[in-house]
């Protein structure tokens, strides 16, 4: 029993080999002033059994990599998680994952380890990242006893900061893909949503460079200032 599993109060069912892999996962790199077109970044989208961040489960993970300023189509992560206790709920209508597909998925521990190895020490980006951060964090903790510390960037927050002229305040992914005329191959498929979010990110980074935010650190600082201003406005 290691220190992490002791903290969770539960013993994750891991093989010895899995436990070793888990221990060798790299720690997240701190944000620095690496230029945006040199920064490796992983864009993710999760499909879940529902929107309850305490009870619902991660059903599939889609991720694409932005590296050297481009999306590398050869480097993608796509995986459906095996859930024996999965109850079919109304959300099946959204993500379209059939119970049979979920039953045929990969064991959660394998899937999550695979994803974390794919992620490496790179920061993450998602649309409405808060949700993905909480869901992924909880799954990692419960399944692997691993605490997720990687920084997340939220495209839903970056977009109105960098493109105020779009005049979209509380927009969803569809609002922004419409605004930029992006095509989604299959909406609410984790990989396809991750890809279109990554395309959105490429546009946003191009706008960010024009506005002198040429690193994730600069963007993080820009976001902090923007959050303060938004708060001041709402007061």
């Amino acid at each position: 029993m290691n220190a992490l599993s002791w903290l969770t109060g539960r013993t994750p069912q891991l093989t010895e080999q899995q436990r070793q892999r888990c221990e060798h996962l790299p720690t997240a790199a701190a944000l620095d002033d690496t230029a945006l077109n040199q920064q490796r970044l992983v864009v993710i989208d999760l499909e879940t059994s529902g929107l309850d961040m305490r009870r619902d489960q991660v059903l599939s993970i889609g991720a694409v990599v932005i590296e050297q300023g481009a999306i590398d189509l050869g480097q993608q992560f796509e995986c459906t998680l095996q859930r024996h206790d999965h109850q079919v709920s109304a959300s099946v209508l959204i993500h379209g994952l059939a119970p049979s597909a979920i039953a045929a998925g990969i064991a959660p521990a394998e899937a999550l380890l695979g994803f974390m190895e794919f992620l490496g020490d790179s920061p993450l980006l998602a649309f409405h990242a808060g949700f993905d951060q909480r869901m992924l964090g909880r799954a990692l903790k419960q399944t692997l006893g691993y605490r997720l510390r990687h920084p997340f960037f939220d495209a839903a927050e970056l977009a109105p900061l960098l493109c105020p002229q779009a005049n979209i305040q509380q927009g969803g992914l569809d609002d922004w893909t419409d605004y930029f005329g992006l095509q989604v191959q299959q909406r609410h498929h984790a990989s396809a949503d991750a890809l279109v979010t990554a395309e959105l990110a490429l546009i946003l980074f191009s706008r960010a460079r024009q506005q002198q935010f040429d690193s994730l650190l600069a963007l993080e600082q820009g976001l902090a200032g923007w959050r303060r201003r938004q708060q001041a406005h709402s007061l």
């Binding site: 005329g181 890809l195 546009i203 024009q210």
Partner: protein, 643 residues
């Protein structure tokens, strides 16, 4: 499930959603739609997706040898070259969704010569050069496409046009078949001193309708046909005289690589039934009318002859539907729009001549020699089935009194000819540009005066008139007077830069229907919503441009394509530009004719308006490129005349 099936199945599910999605996207476009799906999957898996903001440079000449094969996923890319004559640069081409670049530079292992800029926010798929080279070796469709570029697109269109035609007609030969392939057997020939009796015996034994008289080096000296034999027998000539006194000397000949179409046209023009094939001065074959008929089932020669000998206007009118069928079949056999317009003009000329002759027989000779002129598209030999009358009469008179007298005698004949032509489907001209109009039944001096006034008083009406009348041609009668008028016209235009400038302005009036931000510019409202005009917006810029340059540089021919060719020969336009204009003009005309044929078959009225969305992807793309060539021609005129 067998082992291989299981493997294939596993391969399928192993393809990631996004790879699959991108493949589906690419499969809408050539050459990707023809590629093996394993090759296409390899392509997509080795791609990066990159974003370029509007105005951002994608590749430029300074970047050195090209490192990637680019496919536009979304957005538009412009090719910008330094302007040849001005400072700044000009957009030479546009690349949109599904299209790729820069093939020539990539294959040539060199830098691009054109800067590629994102014309709007654009995503491109980038395949690295090593991956491209690997695919290039594996995939035939990709290699073909890359090596042949856009011309392979045109080939695809042509292949499909012919394929469709073959499907509807169940025939499988083409008008482009070389004559050498048609003349299967050895030609029958004899020496000049052979007795006629011997020669006819030879023809009879060999079952042929003609014999060619050759010298010892096998050079053809003359031809003797069964028709000639009838003449000889009727005249009571002896069958024992040597054949060279009875043959038709200097027979018409073509090289063996000339096409069936060339032979058909020659027979139609010259009223001959046999064409000798001559290669390096030696007789190599004979193609007869019958060879062509059995091949084409196109009764071209026969039709022309029937028109020329029709006894009544009603017969001529009835023959119009035969012409329509003929055009239908020719399109089906893959004839080009140029071949077809040429042929329609030829048959129309025969019809006009016959109508004139019949009218003169019926009304009696007015006793004044006259020349029948035609203008506009008929003058340019660019008629389609959908045609208006634009004609006039020219005659020679000594003075004003004689002019008035001659006109009085000619007018009733002219009016009658106009009416009879109308019976034959030559629609009466709404603008009354017809020989029956006293203002268009003029002496040579009057025509010259009239044209001079167009040039000196450049009113909008006169400019419009010059765009019709200055494409003039003789259809019937002596052509000397017309040539004199034309020479005077050239002299006046060459020395009048103001008029040239006005004509240039006029030539820029019709803007080709492509915009900066959209595929095509189409009508937004009314019955013509979503359509564009192939003739006015697509062909007119070429016709007007070619006319202006031809008149300013003394090019006598009126046909737009011939004008372009002569302008290249004279160095007025660059050969590459001229060839591009020709190809573009040709494609627009072809599209227009196919539409006319379709309308005729559906019994709809002829219209030049087209909804570009009804074309398939490939045709739409080429049509758009063709309109861009029209834009280029216009901007070169604007530069030349500093507008």
């Amino acid at each position: 499930m067998s082992k291989t099936d299981a493997f294939a199945e596993a391969g399928k599910t192993a393809v990631l959603q996004n790879i699959h999605g991108t493949m589906e996207f690419l499969q809408k476009f050539p050459p990707f739609n023809q590629m093996d799906s394993a090759h296409l999957a390899y392509l997509v898996e080795h791609c990066q997706l990159r974003f370029y903001g509007q105005g951002e440079s994608i590749i430029k000449p300074d970047d050195g040898p090209v490192e990637h094969f680019y496919i536009v996923k979304q957005g538009r890319v412009h090719g910008e070259r330094p302007h040849s004559a001005r400072r700044g640069s000009e957009t030479t081409f546009e690349i949109t969704s599904g299209e790729c670049f820069p093939l020539a530079a990539l294959i040539g292992d060199r830098a691009t010569r054109t800067e590629h800029l994102a014309a709007e926010d654009t995503f491109c798929l980038l395949l690295s050069k090593p991956a491209f080279i690997k695919l290039f070796a594996l995939s035939n469709p990709l290699r073909d496409f890359a090596l042949r570029g856009v011309s392979s697109l045109l080939d695809q269109v042509n292949q499909r046009v012919q394929l469709n035609a073959v499907e509807t007609l169940g025939a499988q030969y083409s008008l482009d078949t070389p004559l050498g392939e048609l003349a299967m057997r050895q030609p029958i020939s004899c020496t000049p001193n052979t007795a006629l009796r011997e020669a006819v015996k030879l023809m009879h034994e060999q079952h042929v309708g003609s014999i060619v008289i050759v010298d010892p080096a096998h050079k053809p000296l003359g031809i003797f046909t069964l028709r000639d034999l009838r003449r000889v027998v009727a005249a009571g000539n002896s069958l024992d005289q040597p054949i060279d006194s009875l043959m038709t000397p200097e027979p018409f000949h073509l090289p063996p690589d000339a096409s069936a179409f060339d032979a058909a046209i020659a027979m139609t023009e010259r009223h001959i039934a046999h064409v000798c094939l001559v290669e390096r001065g030696r007789l190599s074959g004979v193609v007869s009318e019958r060879d062509l008929f059995s091949l084409q089932r196109i009764d071209l020669v026969h039709l022309a002859r029937t028109i020329r000998h029709a006894g009544k206007v009603e017969t001529l009118a009835a023959l119009r539907s035969d012409i329509r069928q003929l055009v239908d079949r020719m399109l089906a056999h893959g004839a080009s729009s140029t071949q077809i317009t040429h042929l329609i003009t030829l048959l129309n000329d025969h019809t006009v001549c016959r109508v004139i002759e019949l009218t003169l027989e019926d009304l009696g000779d007015p006793g004044v020699p006259f020349t029948w002129l035609c203008f506009g598209s008929e003058g340019r030999r660019e008629q389609t089935l959908h045609t208006d009358q634009d004609n006039g009469i020219l005659f020679e008179a000594k003075d004003a009194t004689e002019t008035a007298d001659m006109r009085r005698r000619l007018l009733p004949v002219a009016v009658e000819i106009n009416q009879r032509l109308a019976q034959c489907d030559f629609t009466l001209c709404k603008g009354n540009i017809m020989a029956g109009n006293p203002e268009l039944c003029l002496s040579r001096q009057e025509w010259t005066r009239r044209f001079t006034s167009f040039i000196h008083e450049a009113t909008p009406e006169n400019l419009l008139a010059s765009s019709i009348y200055f494409d003039l041609r003789v259809v019937w009668g002596d052509s000397q007077g017309c040539e004199q008028v034309r020479q005077t016209l050239f002299k006046q235009i060459a020395g009048n830069s103001l008029f040239q400038r006005m004509m240039a302005e006029n030539a820029l009036r019709q803007r080709p229907p492509v915009g900066r931000f959209r595929d095509f510019v189409v009508a937004r409202t009314g019955a013509e919503k979503h359509t564009l005009d192939l003739k006015v917006q697509g062909l007119t810029p070429f016709v007007d441009g070619a006319r202006l340059l031809a008149l300013a540089h003394g090019v006598e021919t009126c046909n737009t394509l011939e004008r372009l060719r002569e302008l290249i020969d004279k160095g007025v336009i660059e050969a590459l530009d001229g060839a591009a204009y020709e190809e573009a003009y040709h494609f627009i005309q072809q599209t227009r004719m196919q539409q006319h044929q379709l309308q005729a078959r559906q019994q709809l009225p002829y219209s030049n308006r087209l909804d570009p969305d009804r074309l398939n992807h490939l045709d739409r793309r080429i049509l758009r490129e063709s309109f861009r060539q029209a834009q280029r021609l216009q901007s070169s005129l604007a530069l030349r005349y500093q507008l």
